[in-house]
Amino acid sequence: MAKLKSFFKDYLLFILFLCVIIVIWEWLVQSGKVPSFILPSPSSVIRSIVENRESLFQEHLLATVKEVAIGFFIAAAGGIALSILMYFSKALEKMIYPVVLISQTIPIIALSPVFVLWFGYTIWSKVAVTVLIAFFPIVVGMYDGLKNSDPEYDELLQSMGANKWQRFMKVKLPMALPSLFSGLKLAIVFSVVGATIGEWLGASVGLGYYSRRMSGNLNAEGVFAAVFLLSVLGMVLFFVVTLLQKWMLKWNEEKKR
């Protein structure tokens, strides 16, 4: 009960604002002030989702989720591993870190056709875009977390006779987790963006592909349906990562208040 109360306290204004926007939007379209092929009404978007639920959920949403999941996990595993290697080897850090930074200045959309060239229209061209876009926040989060941990803890463990690896496992790694999770939360949202871009450029299934096809058919409701589902997907995945963080970093909770 108390939880529900604090939830409303935190989000009441936001929910009200959202309702007002939706009502105005619906009214604008219903009254004919905005033509529905430019901006479909919220009710018609919902109707479109319900009507096409089978292909939307079982086919397109599933395909996108798969791309996001594979891409995110590859980016997370690779990003964490690379950060740890860079932490242990100065030479590797000097060599790789600038490359990671520069990789972010490449416009990903420009690079995507290259992936289509390499991986064709398989799932891997979409996964590649996702990995590329999700990799950066994970590496930065993990690496900064490792770098910025308090050296005094390190000294304390050293005075107890702990070797470098033990110090890393017992102190550095746990201390880097909050920063890693900041990166992961960004990365999961970016992953949805990456998969969508990948699908635009070449796919036969997925919500990105679906929205482009509907746009080609001048079906505004369909486009908005896909956009809506994509944003819900992003929010749900973000929420999942946040839950994981809360569960793993219980000790870090209270401090923020």
């Binding site: 000294e155 304390l156 463990l157 005075s159 107890m160 006779g161 102190v171 870090n252």
Partner: protein, 248 residues
């Protein structure tokens, strides 16, 4: 008899920039007998913390040698307690105080022993609490236990009570004095608090800014208790040391 801790002609240079070498510790000789409680006192910049880090094996001296029971010191030779409590925030109190046992070979502190210690310092009910749930004094007691449970005979304490308020500090003094006799450890202790140094120590070593040292034995009977700070003997000691610091 082998001395517990010997620093012989120890010098240490800091190199903030490559060209400027500055000796912050020069030719220091300190010897601690087994079971002695010795305080290091000096103004900021006299290298007190550096001496402790050298003894703990965290820094290597540029000249001279440091021995713990005859063996050259290295990380793991002594118990070291920095000024901050540095309890790991994701570990419970029990897990924190047993930290050192995870890096030791051979006989280790058991959970049973650790729990007994918690009972003795009044943290029995906080065994499974996270550090953030403890007060400043409790955290410091836990950090002190962690240092004791390194099971090292020589303990180096860097201003362990420096961040505590006066009342809590007094409590910690009573507590430390009450377990001191059976603790049977050799302690090198840094403090800025003269009363604390006189109350706790067998000997006080004064570090001057010109890097000379001066020893002052404290001839007060043991067992001591924290009320003794008001006795004439203590006040005289305090006056004498204050004068030495001012002249130094």
């Amino acid at each position: 008899m082998t001395m517990a801790l010997v620093m012989k002609n120890v010098s240490y240079l800091v190199r903030p920039e490559k060209r400027h070498k500055k000796k912050i510790i020069s030719n220091v000789n300190i010897t601690l007998k087994k079971g002695e409680f010795v305080s290091l006192i000096g103004k900021s910049g006299t290298g007190k913390s550096t001496i402790l880090k050298l003894c703990a094996g965290l820094l290597k001296p540029d000249e001279g040698e440091i021995r713990v029971y005859g063996k050259a010191t290295e990380p793991g030779s002594v118990g070291y307690m920095p000024q901050k409590d540095l309890l790991l925030p994701w570990r419970t109190v029990l897990e924190n105080i047993m930290l050192a046992s995870e890096f030791q070979k051979g006989a280790k502190v058991t959970k049973h022993e650790a729990r007994n210690w918690l009972k003795r310092v009044g943290l029995k009910d906080y065994e499974n609490a996270l550090p953030r749930e403890l007060s400043g004094g409790m955290r410091q007691r836990a950090a002190f236990l962690r240092t004791i449970l390194t099971e090292k005979e020589v303990l180096l304490l860097d201003e362990p009570f420096g961040a505590l308020d006066a009342l809590t500090k007094k409590e910690m003094h009573s507590w430390l004095l009450s377990i001191w006799e059976e603790l049977n450890k050799t302690i090198l202790f840094i403090t800025h608090d003269l009363e604390e140094a006189i109350l706790l120590s067998d000997r006080i070593i004064l570090l001057h800014l010109d890097q000379t040292t001066e020893e002052i034995p404290v001839d007060l009977p043991r067992p001591r208790h924290s009320e003794m700070v008001h006795t004439m003997d203590m006040v005289n000691y305090k006056k004498m040391i204050e004068k030495k610091i001012a002249d130094g």
